[in-house]
Structures are given as C-alpha cells and as structure tokens.
Symmetry: D2
Subunit: 260 residues, 4 copies
Amino acid sequence: MFTVTTTQVTLVQIDNYGPWTTTPEPRREMDLQTLQSRLFADVAQFLGHRDAYVFFTRFDNMIAVTNGVDGAAHASLQESIGNRYPVSVSLGTAVAERPVDALEAANRRLQTAGSAQDESRTEVLAGEYLSETDRSDLQVAHFDVVNATGKYTDRLNEFDTFINIEQAYGSLMRHLREAHGALAFFVGGDNVVAVCPDLPESAFSSAVAHVEDDVDIELQVGVGRGASAHEAGFAAKHALEDCRHDGTSVELFGAPAVSD
Amino acid sequence: MFTVTTTQVTLVQIDNYGPWTTTPEPRREMDLQTLQSRLFADVAQFLGHRDAYVFFTRFDNMIAVTNGVDGAAHASLQESIGNRYPVSVSLGTAVAERPVDALEAANRRLQTAGSAQDESRTEVLAGEYLSETDRSDLQVAHFDVVNATGKYTDRLNEFDTFINIEQAYGSLMRHLREAHGALAFFVGGDNVVAVCPDLPESAFSSAVAHVEDDVDIELQVGVGRGASAHEAGFAAKHALEDCRHDGTSVELFGAPAVSD
Amino acid sequence: MFTVTTTQVTLVQIDNYGPWTTTPEPRREMDLQTLQSRLFADVAQFLGHRDAYVFFTRFDNMIAVTNGVDGAAHASLQESIGNRYPVSVSLGTAVAERPVDALEAANRRLQTAGSAQDESRTEVLAGEYLSETDRSDLQVAHFDVVNATGKYTDRLNEFDTFINIEQAYGSLMRHLREAHGALAFFVGGDNVVAVCPDLPESAFSSAVAHVEDDVDIELQVGVGRGASAHEAGFAAKHALEDCRHDGTSVELFGAPAVSD
Amino acid sequence: MFTVTTTQVTLVQIDNYGPWTTTPEPRREMDLQTLQSRLFADVAQFLGHRDAYVFFTRFDNMIAVTNGVDGAAHASLQESIGNRYPVSVSLGTAVAERPVDALEAANRRLQTAGSAQDESRTEVLAGEYLSETDRSDLQVAHFDVVNATGKYTDRLNEFDTFINIEQAYGSLMRHLREAHGALAFFVGGDNVVAVCPDLPESAFSSAVAHVEDDVDIELQVGVGRGASAHEAGFAAKHALEDCRHDGTSVELFGAPAVSD
C-alpha cells in the first residue's frame, strides 16, 4: 500500500556561535534571542517558499527538510545570510529513506570538516541533493493535544501548561525517534510536526497510545504525503482538521482512521 | 544573607491564535513559523531595551520578566503589535516573591477576561506593576551543559544531541518549578535561563545533581542578582564564564562556589 | 504667540558602509536593500517606542529627531545594532532651535572623529542631550498631496506618479531648508513629514504655494506641536485629517487656518 | 551590436493602504515606517532569491523587475504577505521592450480592477509572464556620485548632502524616463539603479552630462546585461568598480568606454 519515501535533510549550523556569544564579553541575552529568531524566520521564509520546512530545534543548529531544494539554492541561502548577519552558517545535506539517517549523513559532512566551534571552519556547503528523477514522496504527521485550550491554557498558569506540552513532546519525540527514525519538532502552541519514513496508521495510533500511557496527555494526529514537506505537511494539517471535526485520533491522507 | 526578591511577570498571549491559523483553511506552516518568531523577536527587542527578558515558551504564549517596565510601556507594546501584525496580543502582569506565583496571578487576569480562543476577548491589558519605591532585586540563573560541543554536537547527529539537551531541560524545569516555584526556559544551544526566588547556592548544586541523577547530563550554572532581568542575567552570564574557566559547577554572584 | 522650540537631532551613520558593500566583491543588491531597510525598521522601533522619529534619508545615513531620548538609550541602540548586524553605527547628537543647526552640530561630531569611510572610526557615540529641565516643544508638519490617488495613482503608471511626488518633495524640501532651516522627509505614499523651528501659519501657506508655483502640485498640511516628535507628529496627523475633511490646505494645532 | 531586451515588470501595491493608516485614527508614524520597510525587505528577499529586483519607490507602491519569476511565484508571494501582515497586496505584471511600457501595462491591470483605495479590490493577481523560450536579456545601469564621501558626506551636514544626491537623482530619473523609457531608482547612499531598454554607451554619457549640466553633480555609471535583474545588475556593479578604479565615467559590460 505504501511506496518508498525519501527525505532530504539539511543541517543548518551557525559557525562558531558559542564563542561568538561571549566574545569579547557576554552579549545581551535579548539581542541573542532576536538574532536567533530572526535568522530562523529568514531561513523559514527562504525554504518555505521552496515548499521546504525548517525547524528551530536549538536555534544554533536548525534541521530542515529540503526535498526539491537544490545545491544552488542552498548556496544562495548561505551567501544571503553571510551578507546580512554578523554570523555565518554551514549547510550539510543528505538523502535517505529514514529521516534520521539523512540527518546523520548530513551532519557527518559538517563534523568531518571540523568542530562547530572551530573558528576556521566556516561556510561549509556539502551535500547530496535529490535529482528531479529520483524524487519520491515524503510523509509528515501533524500532532496536537486534544482540547489543549480548554484543559490547559484556560485553566493552568502558562508554565504548568507548558510543562504538560513539553512532556508530551518529549515522550513523543523519543518514541518516534527510537521506534521509527522519525524526527518530531515542537512548532509552538500544542503542535508537533514529525517527518517520518513510510509508516502505517498503526504506528500513529501506537504513538498516541504511548504518550497517553507515558505522560497521560491525549494527542490526535493528521498524516499527509506529498512531493515536498509543504505538500505533505499541508495534507497532514487538513487531516488533523478532520480529527478535530470528527473526534478521531488518527487521520491518514484525509481518510478516516480504520484499524489495520 | 539574602534579601527578598520580587519578580514582575507578564504573560503575552496572542488573541484567538489557534482558530486564526486554520481559518479559512490551514495557513502555510513556514508563514506561521515566520510570524511567530518575528513577533517574539520584536517583543524581545522592545522589552530587552528596557532591561526585561521574554522567553518564547510556546510562541502563542510567551512569558516575560518585566521588573522596571511600567503599564504605559506595556500599552505601547500592545498598540505597536496591533499596528504591524495580523494578530493582536493580550498582556497580563503581576508581581510576587516567587516567579510562578506572579505568573499565576498574571495569567488569571487574562483567564477571567475570557478564553484564549474567545474571539471577542482581544487586547486585554490588565496588571499591577512594581512601583519605583518597592522595587527589589530578582535572581536569575544561567545553566549550560558541560562541554556540549565536544560530547554531543560534534559527535551525535543533531536530533540525538537535541534529545539529550531536551531531556536535561525537561528534568531541570520540572525540578525548579516543583522545588522552588522558579521558571526555567530553554534559550537555544545548550542554555537554560531560570528566573528564581531567593535561592541559596545549595539549591543550585542540588538542581545540577538532580539532572545528573535523572538523565545523566552534566550541567553548570552561574547565578546573578540585579534590579532587572538583564542586570541579574548579565551577572549570571559572567558567573557562568567563571564556571567555564575554573571548572566549577556553580558560581554565585561571581564568587567561587563553596559548600554551604 | 509661539514659544521657542528646541530640536534634538541624531545622525545615525553606518560605519565604513560603502567599502563594505563591495568587499571582497560587490554584494547582491537585494541583500543590501534588505539589510538597510531592516536596520532602519529596527531603529524606527527603538526610537519610536521612545516617542522619537527617524527618517531613512539615504539609509546609510539616517536622521532622527530624538527629543526625550538620553545618552544611555543611544548607547543601548548602538550596542544592540553591533550585536545583531554585520555593520556598526556611529551616533552624533546635538540640540538647537533650528533643526538644521542641530543636525549640523551633530554631524560635525562624527566628521571631526574621522571620515565615514575611515575603517578605524567605528561606533562613535558623541553628543549633547536635552536635560529634563530644558525640554521645550518641537514643531512637526505633515504634508500630503491633495487627492493623490484620484489624480495620480489610479491614472498614471506608478513611475510617472512617483516623478510627480518626487518633484513636489524636492521642491518642498529645498524651500523649507533654505527659508527656515526645517528638515523635510518623504515617508512613503504621498506623505512628507517636516521637523520645523517655530513657524507661523503663513510659513506653511507659503510653502504650499511655493510648491504649486514651482511644480504644479497641490499640497495640504497639518501642523502640530508637542514635547516629542511623536506627540507633535501625532497632532500634525490629526490636523491633516481636518484638512482632508474640511478641504482646507493648512491646519495648525487642530485649529482652522486663519490668515495672520 | 545590441540585441533586443525584454523587461518583465511587476507593480506591488498595498491594498487600500491610505485609509488603513488613519483608521480608526492615525497610526503611529514609526509603526507605519517599520511595517513599510519590513514589507519591502521581505519582498526584496523573496524576489532577490529569484534573481529579481524590487525598488521601494513609494513603499505603498513598489516596482519590481521580475524576469524569470513566474505566476506561481507571484501567487506565493501574495499569499505569504497576506498570512503575515495586517495588509494585503495586489500584483500586476507585464512585459515590454521598454521598462516604462511594461510598467504601464502592469499598472493598468490593477487600475482596471479598481482604485488603490477601493476596499473591495484586494489581492488582485493579474499578469503576463515571460515564458522560458521568449526570455531575452535586460539591461541595468548602476550610477553613483564621484567621490560622494569626500565632497559631501564628510563635509556637509547630512541633509544638505541629501539635497545634492536627491537633485542628482531627480534630474537623472526624469531624463532617463523621458529620453528612453528607463526606470531609475535611488537605492541608498549615492546609488541609483536604472532598468533600461537597449541603450548604447552614448546614452549613458549623455545622461551623465545632462545631470552635470542640470545640477552640477558628477556621476559615473557601470552598465550590465543579463538574463535577470540580478545578473545584469551584478555586471553593472562590476563595471562601476572599473569606473572607480580607472577614473572613467561610463563602463559598459566591463569594457572600457569608447566613443561611439
């Protein structure tokens, strides 16, 4: 029923960032926060308009899903950041069936070029990119917490709400990583977006059940497929709307969840 | 030895954001990411230049430490966002000795005005603000992971590094919340900034030990005090530099850690 | 009838910008445009929240009207830009009755420190600032073109519309500079904001008549006074609304124009 | 010697912007300036990464040179702005040999759809786009003022410098428009970028001579050609570097200027 998925992953790493933040003395925290979040926003706009996704992760290291974005576009992004920020970035890209394997290979390209805090290792651009002919689908799942506003946001203080969301996210991210090599990212509110290999519906019901068992938080998830992160993610968002509307906990490709 | 600390906390909540993101149909994820991170950056600049701190938390709900920022400035921030974004924000502010109590009271001001997803509850501005005369210090702790680059970033793939950092953060945030009513926020890289009530050095060594026991990750922490989040946080950054330089795991107010 | 006005003017000059834009080879024009306009936006937010105004002028040199913004705030702006941009800025500030005299003195502080293209002259911060006690009002005039949309935007192509607006602006800026030492800035659309010394209504009717004679374009103008650029400018905007509503060509302080 | 050039021009017009800026009452000027300049920056990044150029012009109406950018990309830009700003934009696009004719046709597409201040005329997307097969070169000229820093910036106050630059720009823009249907834009500092039809070197020496006669300011100009605005503009920047190095006043396509 499922064809093979292929994920192209790019690691965006700010060069020698840690030392920069404290040289010659520590920089104001709000300036660092502004720099980091605006850099992320710029990468999100650049890649988003090419139907790719990027996640802020640790901000100094961002993980992007870049199916359909070629080497020339990566070079252009790197140059543009170098022209407009006081820091530069290195970009490593690789392709694999499982997202974590793609990331592992992408990451190794930077690691073999030198340490993230090696001041002479700057603006590495290393990667392999999917060609037009070998492109296949990727799978994206969009999770959120059932009735988060009613159960948490409108009742608890924001930090305790956040603790709940954070625990659900932590439980989910580790489960998907270990069980499937999928990469799940918190994207704000009560939303988690996961980039997955080929997974059947049962994998998602299991993930939802795992989080409920583990930390007693109820999730729902929409799953989509497409030629790009945007296309797959957009289908996932629509599927999640179906969950919200129908009260189901898993919706695949817009079809109601059935046991498999 | 410690005088009383007082923390003024502001909850910044985007009005009716969840429904907006899916009306009339789901909006592109990278546009939402861009909007959220730029809004956070703008709030960080606004408050940062007033020596306050803001943390992105869930992006649709951000927690700020606003000692020294009065009601007029809060009104000005709210108006400016309303003028420049497609969404508006509500701001609730309160003051307490323990940060979590301040947040709780700040949050309640918004919750009693209506649900976060009530479309008629917009631009609430409610709060009490520290007067010039009753201002006292606040305490900020800046944690990071010992040798994160060598142990994680340069060795593991970024997602597995992130899992480690996220687990350390999750363990630390829950411990500080439960034990002390402190609010700890991941700020990127391997850094966590915690806004604390009056805590002695032993509380920080215990926190570091707790995380090491719990998830086997070694932290170090600098602690500072000051009249504003920036002043306290800047002292904490300098204290953390001392940890890095001297190999100690806790530095208070720039003095070397001694057992207590 | 008029009390003395005092204007505090700050020159914001990007350090050694020209050479930077072509080193080691010319940088992409759209990256430069992005950098310049975002830097301007950041300065506008910083100063705007302190009730000051800044104008983009040539982008590498921006002119700000900073009544009420002290030296510490100027230092904070300079530091924040240095932390977040690949370029730094120098700031010269001075005070005078006529805006152009304040600018002249502010500018000289940077010029005596070195050339704008001297790579060793960076982050100059030099100025005198109005004290709390000697603050007095300043005067701001907000001009626009009568029925610009109907006469130009909806009829001509945008470049020919722009030629008309640009000619009106050029005529007006030179007249106000020569006749009164006022500084007039195009702020987009068909709007010009002028920072003036004490000027009577007749000066504004003359300016409007001058432009009509010179380039055959009909202007209207609202004039306001206040303790800050924002306060004066906001009164001017309201006065201009009166022009639009009543069909008058000059409105002072909200009162209908009478001959003087 | 010259082949035909073709320019694709897009008019970016903020919908119903004038009324929005004063409804329900005038908005703070610095918020408007921030909104306008950030919107311009976003369009510059979006189009710049597609090798197109955009000029801020009047900010509420921006003119872009979009050879190589198709209708889908225009739709994507429009959607993204609608998702992230409190205002929306209409886009009209057309193609012609002379830039002003392309703009005229692009503009008419919006004008026939309704007034710029018609609140029901929003997000118009109308245009014709160059196909892959009929793409040909375009010509871009990059002017600046000879020794602007030494003659003006370091000597005069910034406003008087600006008056000089503005006069040179005004003289040049009108000459190029009237004589050749070229569109010239001030891009900051002492720089003007002109999008031209096929023009021989003599046209540029005449333009330089015209400005010197008219307002006594000495310009130099580099001219480039290419398949996109960036490619042509980049060649023009390199040619201008040759002017600076060799003391010539016109450099075409990197070759020294000879009389023709």
